[in-house]
Amino acid sequence: MLSSIIQLKRTSGTITEFLSDLQKDYSFSFAYDERIIPSHRFKVRKQRWQLADLLQRLLQKNQLKFELVNQQVVIKKQENTRVTVHGTVTNKADGEYLIGATVYIKELQTGTVANNYGFYSLTIPPGQYTLVYSYIGHHTQEKALQIEQDQTLDIALISSIDKLNEVVVKAKTEEEIESIRAVQMSAHQVEIAQVKTTPMLAGEADALKSIQFLPGIQNGSEGTANFSVRGGGYDQNLILLDGAPVYNVSHALGYFSVFNVDALKNIQVYKGGIPARYGGRLSSVVDIRMKEGNNQKFSLSGGVGLVGSRLMAEGPMGKNASYMVAGRYGYLGQVGNIAARRLSFIPGATKFGVNNEIDFYDLNAKVNVRLNPHNKIYFSAFAGNDHFFNDLTLEDNSLDWGNQTGTFRWNHIYNARLFSNLTLIYGNFDYSYSIRNDIQDFKWLANQQQQSLKLDFDYFASPRHTFNFGLALHHHHFSPGTVTPLSDSSSVRALALDTRKAVETALYVSHEYKVSPQFSFNYGVRFSTFHNIGAGTQYIYDEAGQLDKEQHFASNALMNTYFGLAPRFSARYLINAHSSLKASYNRTYQYLHWVSNSTIGLPTDVWLPADNNIKPRFADQVALGYFKELKDATYGLSVEAYYKWINQVIDYKDNANIFLNKNIETQIRTGQGKAYGLELMFEKKKGRLKGWLSYTLSRVERTIAGVNNNQVYAPRHDRRHNLSLVLSYDLSKRWQFSANYSYITGAGITMPRGVYEPGWFPPWNSVSHYSARNAFKLPDFHQLDIGFKLKSKRKKRWQGEWVFGITNAYSRKNAITYQISNNIGGGQSVSKLYLFGLVPSINYNFKF
């Protein structure tokens, strides 16, 4: 019957009219509920139809379907073929969103990952399902439910670290094994709890130093906060705090980083396969998120240590809001001075000097308000400042520096599948330094600001298709320096370097496609543009680096434009339930250059925008990885290999003259760089003993005309072997032992080979000649740090813990540099400068 050919009398009319015609002319029988039939009119193009085609045409668009029952055509409402479950995943105890929590559907063997705001969405056919929610450090929760229509399901997971709720941890199921299943490779999610157990200098838990134990991430120089990711320079890491870039991450010259771990919730590190939503730096992204604040109850926590103390308060504000405020103050200088004065009888106690001025503070604050189920706003702010004067390390130089960031965010859920986040960002970094001696006596002030707008969308089309897209707009302002003489005797004249303005824009889209349970891939593209904006002066130089022309631009005039198209690609192939193979390619662009005016990296280093003289840098990276889980995900093993090409890599030319140089771009040269390496990581994720062992074999090379006499050279961060061990062991319910060890091949250093020309009055202005750039190696770095934690007996609310630590347990004198001095009385001598030997620490932390 459905295949009969019919000839229509009409080509337009309502469904009911068409059906009654058919009933009359061909005696077909139809059964339907009139309420479900729409009353509007339709048009069809032709009159001759096969009955089934016609019905299909009339009904399908109106969510109706038909079937033949006993020679009667029954028309009914089409059932949902796709329904969406969405919601947020939070931590039960404090209501914090769990970024990256996985939601897995057992029956479909598929799932999704909660985004940066704990939001997840799964679009699936209706049916009976078991949803499994899991997150590292939390007990897995299973929900069995009948899903017939769209629904919201917010889940709160119970932390497995919180010993108050001892729950028997059941055997782990394969669906939890996110590191195997995720398409993303070359990424690490760092648990704050892990950061807090890693022993650090003076017992100050440090987020950025902890990630330096991961494979492929290498400490720049002891005592600095710099790090290099997969052979990238220290300025190639995008460090975001709640989305705002932090330009300088050092406290006390880099002994500590500026992030107070009490205020942090999550750290995500990308070394490769960088998602399209991130851009602006070549080598890595460190995305740090602050806590939202406990929305269940008020809580106060803090700690007192040898060189710093902390306090953090969080709690609910009414029913739909919560806050978090955290502060930290460091008093390294005062401690040193007291020691030097009181303990002058101990040899070496006064070595650190009695005139130290080393202090810092940082403040974090965050408020979040849930306006309604579809709208949520957040405001977060960070401020940190440092003052540093120590004649031993920096002679007459006194430094002050600080960062401030502010972020406003608005999460909006358009519908169960479309999530958006609007971010407004303000970032500021200033530094000043003064040289306190008679001849130079001056103060240098520099500042850098950024305002940004970002709009990001996550579209969860189906469990097989997820789309991310968005845009970003940044406004940069640079004031690289003004110099003011501090006294009449100063030989330095007042000077102001040109201020610069720039606008950076980006558009991106990416699509994650789960082709089959075995094979998934993610591809995307990020298109960015960069514009130098007036008021400003463009300098054009001749081949000898002499200023040829100056071109002045009015306010907001376009001076120069660059753009870049950056493809991103990642793929994952599941070999079996316990192992997978991944590959990725990414291109990244970087429009801001950090020109380091010191070999070790100091807060005085300047950021400069790309311009007509210094082109933007871009890098291509390919990576291949093998990931395996053993014994129900108790152990994890990963092997990754990468190769990276860095184009327009920058460095100062040989014999650059940078001191108070108004045209610093004439001292910079660009060329080609490459980096490659192999990373191994073996991890134990559960049990009383937890930790990892990682090893990286790597190489970095650069070829830049004008640097190292045009020959290939290895930058300072080219260090062949890097071994790290991080361990924590629960000795008993109250005692925990932790240790970390790292071994890194010595950094490269350029050393004098001899004198080139004598001085007129030697040795005061003699000229030396040197080895090739970084041709010598400092001794290998290795260090063992250990810590013990004693938790107080459990009382009602007060939880306290003593943390005892020893940094550099076997007192290795790791050289940060060699110093060469001309001896009065003839000859030269070389000495190695090291920062510290064994450093014990004691801290007390509390929470109630």
Binding site: P752, S766, H769, G825
Partner: protein
């Protein structure tokens, strides 16, 4: 009180172990390069080449660290040009007294090489211990004539408390605007006060084609023409070598009477030579900035084959003027 003691003890341990210097054996670093410096100018006469090994060994017992250079006396030094002229340079024996300042170089000079000319390319080849070092440079167009030399009495601030008055020579000449030019200026005088002072080199007392070769150790300055007008009036020759302390006095023309005439040379040099002199001047001045400087590097060179130094080919104009009087 007990807690306080623990605190103090801990701080004590930290300080005991904190930041320090430890001596390192530097014999590993002893690997000095061969340094070759040559000067060919568009003037008649012999041309000179200096050869030594830059050392990091020092004369023992001297009150100040004076490097013990090693002269290279057994090298084969050949000068050629692209017109087919070849000359093997001969070791030039100088007054041994000259070495008292610690400068121990070997000098070679041409025997019969024709006078150098603008536009001709010259090549210097040095063979020593199985290694061959070469350098090539082309003679720039003739150097403009020095029209006039004047002296400006200036107060130089050599330290916050020490001001010194001296004469700064100023040169006037016509600058050809249709080409890119780089100039170096040298002046030489023998100061009566310097005589008998052991650190004074009498390098400046050599032949006219010789003293500017070693004159970079004393009084010189370099400029690029890019800001120069067609008529350059009273361009000051500030000494790039003067140290920023009381010793700077010895690097300038005193305002007291001195007997000798002042010999002035103006060289038109290549762009590479101009950059070399600039860097050399900076290196002398910036000896001490450690933390705030980039990785150090050797002075640039145009010598191929692993040696350092520079082969300079320059057109020259000269003037001798009496010492200025008040």
């Amino acid at each position: 009180m007990k807690k306080y003691k623990i605190w103090v003890l801990l701080i004590g341990i930290i300080c005991f172990h904190s930041s320090c210097e430890q001596p390192v054996d530097i014999s590993l670093l002893h690997n000095p390069a061969i340094i070759i410096k040559g000067l060919v100018i568009d003037q008649p006469g012999s041309y000179y080449v200096e050869l030594y090994r830059g050392s990091n060994q020092y004369f023992p017992g001297t009150p100040y660290a004076i490097p013990r250079f090693e002269p290279i006396n057994d090298a084969l030094v050949i000068l050629t040009d692209n017109k087919g002229n070849v000359d093997t340079l001969k070791l030039w024996e100088r007054d041994p007294e000259i070495r008292r300042s610690g400068q121990a170089s070997a000098f070679y000079r041409t025997q019969h090489f024709p006078q150098a000319q603008a536009g001709v390319t010259y090549q210097l080849t040095v063979k020593h211990e199985g290694n061959t070092y070469t350098a090539t440079a082309t003679m720039p167009p003739p150097c403009p004539a020095i029209d006039r030399v004047t002296f400006d009495l200036q107060q130089l601030k050599l330290s916050p408390t020490y001001t010194y008055s001296c004469y700064v020579p100023a040169i006037s000449f016509k600058e050809p605007q249709d080409q890119k030019n780089y100039y170096s200026f040298y002046y030489s005088f023998l100061d009566e006060r310097d005589k008998g002072i052991y650190w004074v080199e009498d390098d400046l007392e050599g032949p006219e084609n010789f003293w500017p070769l070693v004159g970079t150790r004393r009084h010189y300055t370099v400029v690029s023409d890019h800001l120069l007008k067609p008529q350059v009036n009273n361009l000051e020759i500030l000494n790039k070598n003067a140290p920023p302390n009381f010793l700077g006095e010895f690097f300038h023309l005193h305002d007291h009477d001195t007997l000798n005439d002042i010999k002035i040379q103006m060289h038109s040099i290549t762009q590479e030579a101009y950059e070399y002199f600039n860097v050399l001047g900076d290196l002398r001045q910036n000896n001490a900035k450690k933390l705030f400087s980039t990785a150090p590097a050797s002075p640039p060179t145009n010598i191929q084959g692993g040696a350092l130094g520079f082969f300079i080919v320059a057109s020259v104009s000269k003037k001798t003027v009496p010492y200025p009087t008040k």
